[in-house]
Amino acid sequence: MRLELGNFHVKDIVFGEFTSFKDGVLTINKEEALSIVKEDEDITEADLLIVKPGDEVRLVPVKEAIEPRCRVSGGPVFPGVTGELLQVGNGRTHALKECSVLVVGKHWGGFQDGLIDMSGEGAKYTYYSQLKNIVLVADTNEEFEKREQQKKNRALRWAGMRLSEYIGSCVKDLEPEEIETFDLDPVTKRSTDINNLPSMVLVLQPQSQMEESGYNDLNYGWDCNHMVPTFMHPNEVLDGAMISGSFMPCSSKWSTYDFQNFPTIKRLYKEHGKTLNFLGVIMSNLNVALEQKERSAQFVAQLAKSLGADGAIVAEEGYGNPDADFIACIVALEDAGVKTVGLTNECTGRDGASQPLVSLDEKADAIVSCGNVSELIKLPPMKTVVGELQSLARDGLSGGWEGDEKLGSSVKEDGSIIMENNAMFCGDQVVGWSTKTMKDF
């Protein structure tokens, strides 16, 4: 498979008459863009805003981030989700870089939603403060989940994907400024030089804890809860096969943008043929029942072993219950003789004194850690709030609360906030952006 990602570097975003890209400036016809959003009758209100790094803006509840892209050869960016099913990871896809489409609830948030500060002390907690963002702020008529802590956010997330495809389509016929090529020969057809290098697989554990459909990450539109681990080409992940779900405490979440840009995959491509033989991705999951966890670990170890992997990286999208899958998978791989490194975050509590993962095993002797979900964060008021600040306290965001004996509400009268890292939008960046680690004190 050979994927060409044609990159267009966005230096500025403005509203204007025609949705177009020229000399680094992305122009968006707001009315046309909103009509794409409103194609879904469940969307009751919608507005578009442009938000840039350094703006004194706080976004909450943020539900999703997507990179605007188009498939040059035709077809949906997210097959099986926004259009018909087709094979991705091969051919040409164009992408608008350094920007994302952010989806923000106009009022209502939930367990899975997060917060982004575009400037100030809070900006360092999320990757998306560094991007120029096209922000869709919208509300829906999904009454059944309005007051539910867990929301599928279907209308809003799908609106974000349609919007990202609409914006991305403006560079379909343009010549990209740069082309990134991702090319891996089939596993058994590689040169002797490459075959002599230590071989490895990347094991991904996307979120799949919900039994009911509508919450979990999707693989070509298929609920990750309903799959057993399978072998995938890394290009499929980079090219829209995976979309984010709507379930996990937000700092642990992998957004669709995270999947599209997966930094650990990109780094492995750099090492491929030099220090490593990157065999591919084993896509696993994080189901709740013990037997399902064991089954997945068993499948992963078998796949890795049958592929002849000497090593593996295992990354989990979540914490708590999924730690059991994470550690079980590492142990199964180590027991199969595959040298394994884990990639995760921790939950050591506000005071830092709790056991870092729910499940531990001495065989997990190599772990890269990206943060503490329960770290307490205080932030001053922000000039502009996009969405609704009270959602952080009122709607059960995983890092917010309405009343705490000592700390009071997460949202103070002056607009300042106190929250757990849990509610920072994709804050722990386990896909690989994270420059955070954990240290003993």
Partner: protein, 348 residues
């Protein structure tokens, strides 16, 4: 100027050697022995008093020694408390740990000591006290005092504290997130670590696996037909109005609810507030998490003596191990008082 107090044993307190190890605690105004050096090195505080106690006295009469010393301190103003350095002296290390822990608990001031890595006091007290990695013997006195004085100054000045390895104390079992100065992203760290592991080179995990805190399995109930059995769950089953406002994640609260007159938990009267799983099944029938219905059948059949009058509930998702342990201890007080013989702990 802020104030500091130093604890020493009989030897460094210039009372005498092993023959004076039974020396009962005293407090002296001003500087004795190493207190002079500490006072010199400490910029943000003055050492006002020195406490001296024999190592054997502390070892054999710990409660009395601690009580006496806490009594000395009651009317003193001080902002920070030091003990040692204790080097490799085991009894002295223990004494420094005991008194530091007690002073911290009673007065809430920072407590600092210094010990050699092989001093048993390190393992015993590193969670409670900043214990700095000190020398083997008194030959390192000046160096070790300089280290603890420097850290004391930082604390008194409210400066940002670095991780344990950078400051030089033994990790206290506390982990926090920090941003790496190198800005090396996790994608590079994880791939570099894998390459090292594959090539048989040394690598350093970012999450050293701590030793498991295992609880011994309880001995079996001798006669179940006479036993009182309680139901405890972390699945968030509560009366529908959640009267104790137990959080749906990262719980710090728990509740107990009277079920003495109920045959089963009715949907609509009870529900789950747990945010970590699909609530549909538990809301439709709360007994799937809290099996009161099944236990009542056992009670009627005489398989168990009786079901305890209350059930106990909290939420497990995101809840830290420390909070869980505290809540468990609080629940067990009630269970013991009601002579409960066995508990079914339902997790989700």
């Amino acid at each position: 100027m802020k104030k500091a107090i130093l604890y020493l044993n009989q030897f460094f307190g210039q009372i005498g050697g092993e023959d004076k190890a039974d020396f009962a605690p005293v407090i002296k105004e001003g500087l004795v022995g190493p207190a002079t050096e500490l006072d010199k090195k400490l910029n943000n505080a003055q050492v006002t008093h020195t406490i001296i106690c024999g190592d054997n006295f502390m070892g054999s009469n710990q409660d009395e020694a601690v009580e006496t010393i806490l009594g000395f301190l009651e009317d003193k103003e001080f902002d920070i408390f030091f003990a040692g350095p204790a080097f490799q002296a085991g009894r002295y290390g223990n004494a420094c740990g005991v008194i530091c822990k007690a002073v911290k608990e009673k007065f809430g001031v920072p407590v600092i000591s210094s010990m050699h890595i092989e001093n048993p006091g390190v393992e015993m007290f590193k969670k409670d006290v900043y214990i700095f990695k000190g020398g083997h013997s008194a030959a390192k006195m000046r160096k070790d005092i300089k280290t603890i004085a420097k850290f004391g100054d930082k604390l008194l000045n409210n400066e940002n504290l670095l991780p344990a390895e950078d400051e030089g104390y033994f990790p206290r079992g506390i982990r926090h997130q920090v941003w790496l100065d190198s800005n090396t992203p996790a994608s590079d760290r994880v791939v570099d670590m894998l390459i090292k592991k594959l090539n048989g080179e040394t690598f350093e995990t970012e999450l050293p696996i701590p030793k498991a805190d295992r609880v011994p399995i309880a001995s079996p109930i001798k006669d179940l037909s006479k036993a009182t059995i309680a139901l405890v769950n972390t699945g968030g089953i509560v009366p529908v109005d959640n009267p104790d406002r137990i959080q749906s994640a990262s719980a710090t609260r728990w509740g107990r609810y009277d079920i003495s007159s109920m045959e089963r938990l009715k949907s609509g009267e009870f529900k789950t507030i747990h945010a970590g799983f699909d609530p549909a099944a538990a809301d439709a029938d709360p007994n799937v998490i809290l099996p009161l219905d099944a236990l009542r059948v056992y009670e009627k059949e005489g398989k168990i003596g009786k079901v305890h009058e209350y059930f106990y509930s909290t939420v497990g998702t995101g809840t830290t191990q420390a909070e869980a342990a505290r809540m468990g201890k609080e629940m067990s007080e009630y269970l013991k008082e009601a002579n409960v013989d066995g508990v079914i702990l339902v997790s989700t």
